[in-house]
């Protein structure tokens, strides 16, 4: 059965769900947002800190949810650290497309993210994987609003 499930519950997902590496809250975060799925109670709180050039230098999440959701938030945090804030919107789109279609984009930064391609076969679970990314988009939008008035 762990074999059966390997497409969805990959080793990376299981590890990060049990022992997330980026759980918690960034001190003095500049961007924070919550993603909520009221239908199931999943909740992701994402906090980020950027340097002056707009590069994300810290990221952390507080997630209450299923294995897919926790792991997705954790891998998200790991992926975005060190990246320019301006890259986040297209990255989120690429991730959501992968979850919809199951097709892994030919991008280096999907080395870890591709673990979630298997979610595509479980339509009712898509939300679990994408919820952290919706929180990311919300956080970046908030930050932009703060900066530009």
């Amino acid at each position: 059965m762990s074999d059966d499930a390997s497409d969805l519950y990959q080793r990376l997902i299981m590890e990060r769900a049990r022992h997330p590496l980026h759980a918690g809250r960034v001190e003095a975060a500049q961007a924070e947002a919550e993603g909520n799925n009221p239908m199931c109670g999943d909740r992701v709180r994402l906090s980020l800190r950027c340097d002056e050039a707009g590069v994300i230098i810290e990221a952390a999440h507080e997630t209450r949810g299923c294995a897919i959701c926790v792991a997705s938030a954790d891998v998200l945090a790991e992926t975005v650290i060190g990246r320019a804030g301006s890259e986040m919107a297209p990255l989120a789109v690429e991730f959501e497309t992968m979850v919809q279609t199951g097709l892994v984009p030919a991008r280096e930064d999907f080395a870890m993210l591709q673990a979630f391609a298997g979610v595509s076969a479980y339509r009712s679970r898509h939300r679990c994987a994408t919820l952290p990314w919706q929180a990311l988009t919300a956080a970046m939008n908030k930050r932009r609003e703060l900066e530009h008035g």
Partner: protein, 413 residues
């Protein structure tokens, strides 16, 4: 129908053969369907009744003077008698609606906005399905009645001392409460609740969406004022449900929806309403589905509730016995009187993961708040996984669930 005391003969394999879908496979595994509380599967007899109607005697009902219409009207109206008999009501007390949800809304609208005044209170319990909560919230917001929520005990039973407090000021006019919780499995003591409500000058509405599937319901013996249920949980089609209302109450209620069938005469200035139940059935009804519901009731009656209840008790007892020992597994609710629904959590594993991983083994359970979000929060939870049983469920299926859960636990430990 069947001998009352002895457990009647119950051949679950013969029953399973009546349900075509049960021989399906899912992900290459034999289907283990443990989600009947959400909606039950349909026996061949129900499918056949619907097909027979469409193939041999279909036309719009009531208004027709031709053979097809008369036959179809007869079939349709015969189901009203059948439903009346099923819950021990009279036929003019049976209103056909889409589902239990619409039935509660109908009462909230037609009864709530006329018999209740601003300042009157409605009581619901902490274990209501949204269907028996949201319509009362909408009535509160539109009409100014007060909504009170009676607590449940940690075992998942109505807290009667709190109920007494809520009724103490004499403002409560309606108690709207479930007959069986779709999360905890709790049966509420409906006779006691009805006499309590009546003694306090209040009416009682019972949400029988779950209960009616598992137990013989006698609305007169209960002395229910309103009773609602859905066809699709009772092995019948979707799109058809039932509102029972005492004749004296329905008689005074204004219509809910306007249109054909529910009128006496219509002029531009003024229309008069038909008598109940027709007053509450506007437009072309769910004819084919009603006939399907009739077949479902026949099916259930042929097995008999003595046998059904005994079978489901056996399943539930078995489920409680084999699931409880699983380390980290917690069962929601511990009511004395409980039906074939077992909701649970598994430490360290989210209910969604439980459901998905069981599904991969062919086992269908539900996960989430089961349309009872406030109850889920009352239990201190975000979600639970729920296994629920029907006439066709087997002890072996429950064992398969146990095995599946053990595997998941290992995977996550």
């Amino acid at each position: 129908m069947s001998v009352a005391v002895a457990v009647p003969l119950f051949d679950v394999e013969r029953i399973r053969a009546d349900f075509p879908i049960l021989s399906q496979s899912v992900h290459g595994k034999k289907l283990v369907f443990l989600d009947s509380a959400a909606s039950a599967q349909k026996p061949r007899a129900v499918i056949d009744a619907m097909v027979r109607t469409m193939e041999t005697r279909y036309a719009n009902v009531h208004r027709g003077l031709h053979w097809m219409s008369e036959q179809c009207s007869d079939d349709y109206e015969a189901v009203r008698d059948k439903v009346a008999h099923f819950i021990n009501a009279s036929r003019d007390e049976i209103v056909f609606v889409r589902n239990a949800t619409e039935a509660v809304n109908l009462v909230a609208h037609s009864y709530g906005r006329t018999a209740l005044q601003a300042g009157d209170a409605v009581v619901v319990s902490e274990m209501e399905h949204h269907a028996n909560l949201v319509p009362w919230q909408m009535l509160r917001d539109a009409h100014g009645v007060e909504l009170r929520v009676v607590r449940i005990t940690d075992a998942g039973e109505i807290d009667f001392s709190h109920l007494e407090q809520l009724f103490a000021d004499g403002k409560v006019r309606l108690l709207a409460v479930t007959h069986m919780s779709n999360v905890l499995g709790t049966y509420t003591p409906v006779e006691r609740l009805a006499s309590f409500a009546h003694a306090h000058g209040a009416r009682i509405l019972l949400d029988g969406a779950q209960a009616v599937v598992h137990r013989a319901v006698d609305v007169r013996a209960i002395d229910a004022d309103f009773y609602v249920f859905s066809g699709h949980k009772l092995y019948g089609p979707t799109g058809i449900g039932v509102l029972y209302g005492k004749a004296e109450l329905l008689e005074k209620m204004p219509p809910f929806l306007g249109g054909g069938e529910m009128i006496g005469t219509v002029s531009y200035q003024h229309s008069t309403w038909a008598k109940p139940p027709f007053r509450f059935e506007a437009g072309t009804p769910a004819i084919i589905e009603t006939i399907g519901l009739g077949a479902a009731i026949d099916y259930v009656n042929a097995i008999g509730f003595a046998a059904i209840a005994a079978h489901e008790r056996e399943l539930t007892d078995h489920a409680l016995a084999v699931l409880a020992p699983i380390p980290g597994l917690h069962i929601a609710g511990a009511a004395q009187d409980r039906g074939g629904v077992v909701s649970f959590t598994l430490d360290g594993v989210h209910a969604h993961d439980v459901a998905t991983l069981l599904d991969k083994q062919g086992i269908a359970v539900r996960a989430g708040h089961h349309c009872a979000e406030p109850l889920t929060r009352r239990l201190g939870l975000d979600s639970t996984a729920r296994a629920s049983f029907g006439v066709y469920s087997t002890l072996a299926e429950i064992d398969a669930l146990r095995t599946g859960l053990e595997r998941i636990r290992k995977m996550f430990s």
